[in-house]
């Protein structure tokens, strides 16, 4: 078992975009609210960080349900960015989150908008807060305007990244959609406009149909696929992007175990985000952190950060 001596020797910290995380396990945006829902089970500060639910300038009610459908080894969702709006986050959620056990863990604000002006305005308001990092969501597949529309081309990524970069000095991470022909092009576009990190992948656009009613299971017809089913796609894309850019990469997409997290890091991720795994098992972040410690002990790894990008391709 993991003794005190070992835990003192182990270094789980990682640095992304100049921000130090106590460990590389981050709750992904959209599955963790604003950190208020899982405190019955464990203190928040065991996490490396939390990426808050995607925020828009004004409150959004989201899509009409059903918003979720099960798939083999995964799920589809079409929430549609339901959120209380940026001001409510700044005035209510952020102070509570900071006070409620997040002095060391990293708070990431995930932001989305219809126009570059929306994105910039949200970034401007966050610039005056103590939020640690912004995650630019140019990849949400479930809103009609904005979202992934900005992430499916290098031009779009350039426009939004530039607008936000000019609005804030906060570390800026750009979250990419996998629903593109060449994700490295979009990653390079974001990098060229001053992004400090890239996170990927958001969900893959999918669809399910109820064969009895002939209706799509989701009221939105289509939605984002996540979970173990997308993991190999995510690893491949993280690997490609990590080789294409010089900025930090955070990997996500179907990470379900410590082994998955290690794989993602070997592919080039400095840290991982956990999404669907938390919906299946709220204790997943604990198990993954514990598993990483075990992996380090077994393999004689002192710093987890050392494994990033250590895949040896054929």
């Amino acid at each position: 078992m993991n003794g005190t001596v070992n835990s003192q020797k182990r270094d789980l910290t990682v640095t992304v975009a100049g921000v130090k995380f106590p460990n590389p396990v981050i709750a992904a945006s959209g599955v963790y609210g604003f950190g208020e829902y899982y405190t019955d089970l464990y203190p928040l500060n065991i996490l490396g960080g939390i990426s808050c639910k995607g925020l828009t300038l004004n409150k959004k009610d989201g899509n009409i349900p059903p918003r979720v459908a099960e798939t083999p080894a995964g799920m589809l969702n079409a929430v549609g960015l339901q959120n209380p709006g940026i001001d409510f986050f700044i005035n209510t959620h952020l102070p509570r989150l900071r006070k409620g056990g997040f002095p060391q863990s990293v708070i990431i604000a995930n932001i989305a908008g219809e126009t570059p002006e929306d994105y910039a305005e949200i970034a401007r308001r966050l610039d005056e807060t103590d939020v640690d990092m912004l995650e630019l969501n140019i990849s949400c597949p479930n809103v009609k305007k904005g979202g992934a529309a900005w992430g499916i081309s290098s031009e779009g990524a350039v426009i939004v990244t530039k607008a936000v970069r000019n609005a804030t000095k906060k570390p800026l991470m750009v979250k990419l959609t996998p629903n593109v022909t060449d994700i490295t092009e979009v990653a390079k576009a974001a990098e060229s406009e001053g992004a400090d990190a890239i996170s990927l992948i958001n969900t893959l656009l999918g669809m399910r149909i109820d064969i009895k009613t002939k209706r799509p299971v989701l009221r939105n017809n289509v939605g984002g696929l996540s979970g173990p089913a997308v993991f190999p796609v995510a690893v491949r894309m993280v690997w490609q992007v990590a080789r294409a850019v010089n900025i930090d990469v955070v990997g996500m997409g179907g990470v379900n175990s410590a082994e998955d997290a290690v794989e993602m890091m070997l592919a080039g991720a400095k840290a991982v985000q956990i999404g669907t795994a938390i919906i299946s098992d709220p204790l997943a972040p604990l198990k993954i952190i514990g598993g990483l410690e075990h992996y380090m002990d077994v393999n004689g790894i002192k710093r987890i950060a050392d494994i990033t990008g250590k895949v040896q391709p054929w």
Partner: protein, 282 residues
Amino acid sequence: MPYRCGSYHIIEKTAISAGIYSYVILCPEVAEEAKPGQFVHIKVEGFTLRRPLSICDIDYKNGSVRIVFEIRGNGTARLSVLNVGDSIDMIAPLGNGFTLPYGKSAPDGKSAPDGKFTPVGKSAPIIAPDRRIIVVGGGIGIPPLLGAAKVMRERATAILGFKSYDKVILANDFKQNHVHVITCTDDGSVGIRGTVIPPLETELAKNDVEMVYACGPLKMLAAIVKTCQQAGVKCEVSMEQRMGCGVGACAVCACAIRKQDKESMLMVCRDGPVFKGEELVL
């Protein structure tokens, strides 16, 4: 309300009708916190999404909860092969239960008439002695109503709707707990032929009903809410929706609610599953 996430053993399994199963799960720390109308969120091996199942009954003395579920798809089919001694991974208890005349935290620590519930305040119901409650439900929507009705014993009436006689479930459980039962079937093969609405109207007309609790198909719920509004009786409804995390975090199980003319999307798992009838946008 605190919830737990853990593995608990099935201590009793019964097939109560074709494709409908009853499990009693030993989970003292869950039972201690649970109240009628709440649900458990079960991880089924091999499936990404958990299955939310309403708590049918709570045994505070023995520290167990009972769930009753119908095989609806692959997930519930997989769940149904578990046996006594097998363990179930669940997050529970979740959601808000029914607002009952009886609650759990008893200042006087006395027991309710059934010896298991502890009442809020005094050991008698907090509604006037000549008032009663009605629970009304259809099919697989009936289980959460048992826990609610049994607290009130003879001062509860259960109006239970089914397709036909072979679909009847739990009627005897209500009766054993001294609840008056009115059974309705679509084809008249047992009880009153037709929907639960005419008997509900008859009962409400007696002017002694404090509150109505309902769970069942959406169409039925809409009719129940309307009937209660016309009679001027308060009503609480337990809703169902495709669910993700079960604790409020993922914003998947949305339900449109109207409060003071303002409509908003609330979460069935966290804000419900029980909502005030008049606030539902049906």
